[in-house]
């Protein structure tokens, strides 16, 4: 286990209310009182109005929307989707939250962080990240009416939100590093390069969040490292662009995995990771039909014809109801990868990656 070393080295730069309001006024000619008037119908007595998102975090641009969270002690209902409003050219997306919503969300985050299980997208679909965004909009949000929302928590709300991000992105990095090496073994260089890029960029995400920077989603990573983590900017540039198909993809994968290992402090070799994960293909079964062989899933209404070699690899799995890859068996590696890449099998990890075991906060990045 690696000890967490030192304190975050990056000061969190949040815009103040005046700066955000001036920016919105310059883009759209809209003031905060006008925003408050437009969303007033959603407020219950005592509700706070919190502005969040890229515009409040020193990022964003003229076409960015303004994200608003409304909640308070009397809020009895939550909106299921963001409620859109337009003020001149400014789009305002509003999330109305029930009074106990944030308490529940933070409680769940603390429980996950205290446990051994993987986060595994428990706080939002991998790319939608609805709960992660919500956590951070409130943690790093800018109160524009009423006090900030203070969920019940055993420690700093920002620290909980930050640790959850570190763990989430560390787990994404681990899975992507594993799949990249699996794809190489399965002779899919394009898949290998895509996963290797994801591993490297996920390790950069985990690193900036380990240093206390707020979450702004995947799309702002380039601007974020340029502005706040220049030590990572070169690595970001190095892994953002995929090699051409006829280039040395294996070298790109090795380099991305090494960079991820360096930042995380974890061993991410195929052999090390193969022992930690298991594939699961649900109700998939092999059916011979004359000279043909089919993998069939009734649940997914799917049928896939396989070769004799693939059928043999399927029968050679190390267990039913979930199997681990043996790095020494090429046919098994290839079949596992092909099923995963086609969406037929999923990948489950035996345990998560507790923040205390990760080294992302080790080095200065600014």
């Amino acid at each position: 286990m690696l000890p967490r070393q030192g304190l975050p080295t990056v000061r969190v730069r949040l815009s103040d209310r005046g700066a955000v309001e001036a920016r919105i006024a310059s883009y759209h000619g809209v003031s905060f009182p006008e925003v408050l008037a437009a969303v007033d119908y959603l407020r219950d007595p005592g509700d706070s109005v919190i502005a969040g998102g890229s515009l409040t975090l020193g990022l964003g641009n003229r076409l960015s929307d303004l994200d608003i969270v409304i909640s308070g002690p009397a809020s009895a209902e939550s909106s299921r989707v963001p409620l859109q409003h337009w003020l001149k050219s400014l789009r305002v997306d509003v999330w109305k939250l029930r009074a106990d919503a944030m308490d529940e969300l933070v409680g769940r985050a603390e429980a996950v962080l205290g446990g051994e299980g993987p986060v595994a997208g428990a706080f939002g679909d991998m790319f939608e990240e609805a709960d992660l965004k919500l956590l951070h909009r409130v943690a790093f949000g800018l109160p524009i009416e009423g006090p900030g929302i203070q969920p019940a928590a055993s420690r700093s709300y920002r620290a909980i939100a930050g640790d959850l991000l570190v763990r989430e992105y560390a787990e994404r990095m681990r899975e992507a590093a594993f799949v990249a090496q699996l794809a190489l073994a399965a002779a899919d260089p394009l898949g290998a390069a895509l996963s290797a890029r994801l591993a490297a960029l996920s390790s950069l995400h985990a690193t900036i969040y380990a240093h206390g920077l707020p979450f702004t989603g995947d799309k702002w990573l380039g601007e974020r490292v340029t502005t706040d983590a220049p030590e990572l900017a070169e690595r970001h540039a190095l892994y953002s662009v995929l090699p051409e198909p006829d280039a040395d993809v294996a070298a790109f994968v090795r380099s991305a995995v090494r960079a991820s290992e360096h930042l995380s402090g974890l061993e991410l070799s195929l052999a090390a990771l193969a022992a930690q994960g298991r594939f699961d293909a649900g109700d998939l079964e092999l059916y011979p039909a004359g000279t043909a062989r089919f993998l069939v899933s009734v649940d997914r209404d799917g049928l896939w014809e396989v070769t004799d070699a693939e059928a043999a690899a399927w029968n050679g799995r190390s267990g039913r109801g979930g199997w681990a890859c043996d790095p020494g068996r090429a046919a098994g590696l290839k079949l596992s990868y092909d099923l995963y890449a086609a969406g037929i099998a999923s990948l489950r990890w035996e345990r998560g990656l507790p923040v205390a075991e990760l080294a992302f906060a080790r080095e200065d990045i600014a």
Binding site: R62, G222, G343
Partner: protein, 172 residues
């Protein structure tokens, strides 16, 4: 009329997934245009990568009707493999691969606009849900597709966070 027989559910599911991605392209384009104007090169490149992936997925779903989709991290590769012989493969790959720093933001944006226009020339235009004029037509279109998917027993295309009964409790 094109009969789809026992594959009706799969056909509708694939078409609806492609529609949702097509509708969501307006947000990608908004990110792109805002980033070009503000000279935010990182966001320009991220948006281009996402547009390339979404267009590849739209084309793969529309032309191959394959289900299921893999996890999000695998979809770019899944889509590129299924449109390998398509005329738009090189443009999709170019955007998904991303761009060296020597490429200008304007050149990247132009490539994105071309690919979106070419993709929509094949799969059709959709309302812009980010504008006053397009918001309600977009809602009406998704409502009609949800009725169709319900009739065929197929899962809808909205993010799970918008439709699930719990988690986060506050936004369900």
């Amino acid at each position: 009329m094109k009969a789809s027989g026992s594959g009706a559910g799969r056909l509708a599911w694939c078409q609806s997934q492609a529609l949702w991605l097509n509708l969501a392209l307006v947000a990608r384009l908004e990110d792109l245009e805002g980033a070009v104007e503000a000279r935010q090169s990182g966001l320009v490149r991220y948006s281009a990568m996402a547009i390339g992936e979404d267009c590849a997925l739209i084309l793969a779903l529309t032309e191959r009707h394959e289900k299921p989709l893999p996890v999000r991290s695998m979809r770019a590769g899944w889509a590129l493999a299924r449109i390998r012989d398509h005329a738009l493969w090189p443009e999709c790959w170019r955007l998904i691969r991303s761009f060296e720093l020597s490429q200008t933001n304007e050149e990247i944006a132009a490539a994105c606009r071309r690919l979106v226009a070419s993709t929509r020339a094949i799969v059709g235009q959709v309302p812009d849900g980010l504008t006053h004029d397009g918001y309600f037509p977009m809602l009406a279109l998704t409502r009609e597709w949800y009725k169709l998917l319900d009739a065929l027993g197929q899962k809808g295309f909205f993010p799970d966070e918008w439709t699930r009964d719990r988690s986060p409790k506050g936004t369900a």
